[in-house]
């Protein structure tokens, strides 16, 4: 009776979660969609707590309350520019929780087996159910009750599932911690690997397989612990070997992993809601990774296997010079312009210049100029990062456009301001087949009448590729910190 109620609640929760993801198709419906997600989560947790097998509910409530307090602090204190770090560190929590739950399942399995042996009964349950065995199994509660009813094949499947859950969870955990470190600048963002490179990863994966076989053969829990350690190493080493520019892919990939880990744990616990949600999150992350890879014209494998610039030919030499311009020149051009497009990148986030950008937009729009934003799919360090920053600075979302929506409008644009982005506006991707980013779709800003590039200095971008845009005749370099430059520009727009 009680059990049936829990399942029904799970069905409702699953529907709410699907609606919550589907609602993200538009800015307005998204605001409602979050509430669906919250309601779904509340129903699921409540139903589990009053459902079968639950004890110590007071402890659960205390823990949830503590978690809520920490979560609230995190969510309200975080700067919008730190969003990638936050998302990464939260993935690590899911990964670690999956590892713990997986281990618990293994321990419970061992306890049940021990109890059966002590009672002189066979475990796993033989095909022909004995009356004594069935009676003994009835005495268990909660998860142990489910385990006690399993046959030999089912127990092996359970082991595979919990192994998968632990392995993926562990990779997600260390991977996310490293990704967090890289995004927060606490770990060197360059692609770095131990000697041996991917051979080490492959070796660790192979060793994991061997350990998995041993574990299935009944070698005991030490194999599982060793397997976890190997997975932790793989997560660490894999993400260390990926450069900062590929972070959008990494974060969405880890997002996907945390989902698959939850799904695997759901299988081992025979919990359908875990499976449903895990699959939803897993496929969502997979699609995001795919979109990001497509936006960089790179295959998923090549992103995972290493950073930029590893296998590029000699870059074509660029002729000409970078011509600098001062704030008066930019102001004059903006005052004369009718249509302006702003291309923000990670540099804007670093300089915290989104407020100044918004102020500039307001001033220009008040003068009747058409101002729009062009967002490349991989701008920033997280899918959709720029949109969130601009939204925070109160830039209306209907003037913030995607690459495909705006690329054809550049020839009719008077002024393009590139703020802190580099590779996503690099014409070499189209013109120079030897370039490491050849074929990557880019914003065709150079087709505009005039381009101003706000940039800290003459250096190359994250990927270390020279950008011919900076040498074009219609390009002027507006050197300096993005925020300081824009602040000095603002009073001159009249």
């Amino acid at each position: 009776m009680e059990f049936g109620f829990t399942i029904a609640a799970y069905a409702v929760a699953a529907v709410l979660f699907i609606l919550s993801l589907g609602g993200l198709s538009g800015q307005e419906s998204a605001k409602r969609a979050v509430w669906y997600g919250i309601a779904g989560m509340a129903i699921a947790v409540l139903a589990t707590m009053i459902g079968p097998g639950q004890g110590l509910w007071w402890l659960s409530i205390v823990l949830i309350a503590i978690g809520a307090g920490v979560g609230y602090q995190l969510a309200t204190r975080v700067q919008m520019t730190q969003m990638p770090e936050l998302v990464a560190i939260m993935h690590s929590l899911v990964g670690l929780a999956a590892v713990f739950v997986g281990f618990n399942a293994d321990i419970e399995l061992g306890r049940v087996a021990a109890a059966f042996t002590e009672a002189g009964l066979t475990f796993p349950r033989p095909e022909e159910v004995t009356a004594a065995g069935a009676a003994f199994a009835r005495d268990f509660t909660g998860f142990a009750a489910i385990v006690a009813k399993k046959t030999g094949v089912e127990v092996n499947i359970l082991r595979v599932e919990l192994m998968l859950g632990i392995w993926i969870g562990a990779v997600t955990f260390t991977g996310s911690v490293i990704a967090y470190g890289k995004l927060a600048g606490k770990v060197d963002t360059a692609a770095k690997q131990l000697p041996g490179g991917h051979l080490l990863n492959a070796g660790a994966a192979l060793a994991s397989l061997v350990l998995a076989a041993l574990y299935l053969g009944g070698a005991g829990s030490w194999t599982l612990i060793l397997l976890t350690l190997l997975a932790l190493f793989i997560g660490y080493h894999l993400i260390m070997g990926i450069g900062g520019a590929d972070m959008p892919v990494v974060v969405s990939m880890l997002n996907s992993y945390s989902g698959w880990a939850a799904a695997a744990i759901g299988f081992s616990l025979s919990n359908d809601l875990l499976i449903v949600v895990g699959a939803l999150v897993g496929s969502s992350g997979a699609i995001l990774s795919y979109i990001m890879c497509k936006a960089m014209n790179r295959s998923f494998i090549s992103v995972i296997l290493g950073g930029f610039g590893n296998a590029s030919g000699p870059a074509t030499a660029i002729e000409g010079e970078q011509i600098a311009i001062d704030v008066d020149g930019v102001a004059a051009a903006l005052n004369d312009a009718e249509s302006v497009v702003i291309v923000p990148g990670y540099g804007m986030a670093v300089a915290q210049a989104q407020g100044a950008v918004s102020e500039l937009t307001k001033k220009l729009r008040a003068k009747g100029k058409e101002v729009r934003f062009a967002i490349h799919p991989v701008a920033g360090r997280l899918p959709g990062h720029m949109n969130v920053l601009l939204a925070e600075a109160k830039v209306p979302y209907d003037i913030v456009l995607e690459m495909d929506e705006i690329n054809e409008d550049f020839p009719e644009t008077d002024v393009v301001i590139v703020i802190g982005s580099n590779d996503i506006v690099n014409p070499a991707a189209q013109d120079d087949p030897t370039s490491p980013i050849a074929g990557m779709p880019v914003l065709e800003v150079w087709k505009a009448k005039q381009v101003f590039v706000s940039k800290r200095g003459q250096g190359t971008g994250y990927s270390g590729i020279e950008n011919p845009l900076f040498f074009k005749e219609n390009t002027r370099m507006f050197y300096g910190d993005a925020k300081a430059s824009l602040d000095s520009l603002l009073p001159k727009i009249e």
Partner: protein, 523 residues
């Protein structure tokens, strides 16, 4: 160094080579500025304005030439002026060394350095000091204004209460800097503009300015890149074809602006007497090539004439000087940029670097030697024209066939994917027990739903999507909640840690998503 600008002596020359603004910039380079009294008067710059900008004003030309280490002026020096040059002094002006060899000898004899603004090579880096282009730009603009002045109708077509006015038709011959400026001015006034050039690669520029490129069917197209961006003489056959086209167009055109010049040669005759005769009464021809003999047979340099057929032909050669304020501003900026390159350290000391392509090219006399003509520059003016492959126009049948093929390809892909997926699920079903399959079906369907739903998520909401998926992936808390009541202490501890971490994630994830979404606002 002291930079001085004398008053222009040539009759009717209103320009001046230094403005109060450019003087300010020159002083920033560490130079002192001096100017002859009244030099800027005709261009609208008073002596007082110069004094305010920190420029010393001297009374006479003689005193100025004596005081200045570098003399910057517009027109080539007259003989009197050239005789005032002394050893070590530098002169920056238009010089036309090809036509003024005696003058060049004179300057060499005096030991002075001469930098000819008309010899600045045409490379990207030197555009900021390309005075020919900046003057040509003004000439192009002014040509349209002069034409309008002598043309009895509107440029733009209008439908008024008093009747309909057809738009003027303008033909621009030669799409160099002047031609393009003329095209831009004429289109912005509302005229229908046609433009012709022997270099097919400029058709893009012409069309970008809003004019129609007059296309000539001809086999051997010229590659303008070979000649440093200038036009080269064309073959007689080509010329014949070209004139034929013009003859065809002449009766239609209201205004013709010719700007065709070939470096080092008299202007080609492109608009014959016959064509002038074919034009309507009241039409106007502006010949920007008048100084080199004119593109039109009937052009009289420096004069405006009206033919018997009522066609006005403007042959002025001083268009830039007619807009002295504008042209002085641009020319003085060109000179200032030249000085910037000459004083790389910004310390007021000139470093005449003869290794530099631009400085070498513009210097025609230096250290008592004639350094003209310069060796070819190391950098090509414009990239060689790339052979263009036009995508073939597809017939409707081909398009249809392509669509069908694409559809078939898509179907095949989808069917393959489905078949592979189904086979995989069936294979699992063969070995796995029924209890597992129940969950497995749920899993497969969920993945499917996930793929369907996530593709519709707006790109701009990818960050909130990640935050919300993050929050709901903490559903793992259910697993921990089920286990927390276990009788084993170890399990309880691990499960409690799981509950704690997952609930941090739930609250943090949902709250931050809400915070983000609340920020998205419509304008």
């Amino acid at each position: 160094m002291k930079i001085g600008t004398p008053k222009e002596i040539s009759e009717g020359e209103a320009r001046v080579a230094m403005t109060p603004e450019s003087a300010g910039q020159l002083q920033k380079l560490g130079h002192d500025c001096v100017i002859e009294a009244g030099a800027g008067e005709a261009a609208g710059f008073s002596d007082a304005a110069y004094t305010d900008a920190g420029v010393a004003v001297v009374k006479t030309a003689a005193a100025l030439w004596k005081a200045a280490d570098i003399v910057a002026k517009v027109r080539p020096p007259t003989e009197t002026e050239a005789k005032r040059l002394r050893k070590g002094q530098a002169l920056i002006s238009f010089f036309w060394p090809g036509q003024n060899e005696a003058l060049l000898e004179l300057a060499k004899g005096k030991g002075a350095t001469v930098i000819a603004m008309d010899m600045v090579p045409r490379i990207s880096r030197a555009q900021k000091m390309d005075a020919l282009s900046s003057m040509a730009n003004i000439a192009g603009y002014r040509a349209v204004i002069e034409a309008g002045n002598n043309f009895g109708r509107f440029f733009t077509g209008q439908v008024t209460a008093a009747g309909k006015v057809p738009p003027a038709k303008v033909l621009v011959v030669g799409a160099g800097v002047a031609g393009l400026a003329a095209i831009g001015t004429a289109t912005s006034l509302g005229a229908i503009v046609y433009a012709f050039d022997v270099r097919p690669e400029v058709s893009e520029q012409i069309e970008s300015m809003g004019a129609n490129f007059v296309f000539l069917e001809f086999e051997e197209a010229q590659d303008g890149a070979a000649t440093g961006g200038y036009a080269a003489p064309s073959s007689p056959e080509f010329r014949e074809k070209q004139l034929e086209k013009f003859r065809e167009m002449a009766p239609e055109m209201d205004i013709v602006i010719t700007t065709a010049l070939i470096p080092g040669r008299p202007a080609p005759k492109l608009w014959t007497e016959e064509m002038v005769g074919m034009m309507k009464r009241g039409s106007v021809i502006v010949d920007l090539a008048a100084e080199r003999g004119g593109n039109c047979d009937l052009t009289v340099p420096d004069e405006k004439i009206v033919t018997e057929g009522g066609v006005t032909i403007v042959g002025y050669t001083d268009f830039p000087s007619r807009m002295a304020t504008q042209s002085s501003t641009l020319y003085s900026t060109n000179v200032r940029h030249m000085m910037t390159d000459l004083t790389p350290e910004k310390d007021g000391i000139v470093n005449h670097n003869m290794e530099d392509d631009v400085i070498r090219g513009a210097t025609v006399a230096h250290d008592g030697e004639i350094t003209w003509p310069p060796p070819p520059p190391k950098v090509q003016a414009i990239a060689a024209q790339k052979p263009k492959e036009k995508p073939k126009e597809l017939t409707p049948e081909q398009k249809r066939a392509q669509e069908v093929a694409a559809f078939k390809e898509q179907t095949r892909q989808q069917v393959t994917l489905l078949a592979a997926g189904a086979a995989a699920v069936l294979a699992v079903g063969l070995v796995a027990p029924a209890s597992f399959m129940q969950h497995f079906i749920v899993f497969v369907l969920s993945v499917f739903i996930g793929f369907q739903v996530i593709w519709n998520v707006a790109h701009s909401l990818h960050t909130p999507l990640m935050a919300v998926t993050n929050a709901i992936s903490s559903i793992i808390i259910l697993g921990a909640l089920i286990q927390i009541g276990s009788s084993s202490v170890l399990i309880t501890i691990l499960a409690a840690a799981g509950v704690l971490m997952a609930s941090v994630n739930i609250f943090g994830g949902f709250l931050v998503t809400r915070r983000m979404l609340a920020m998205f606002q419509k304008s």
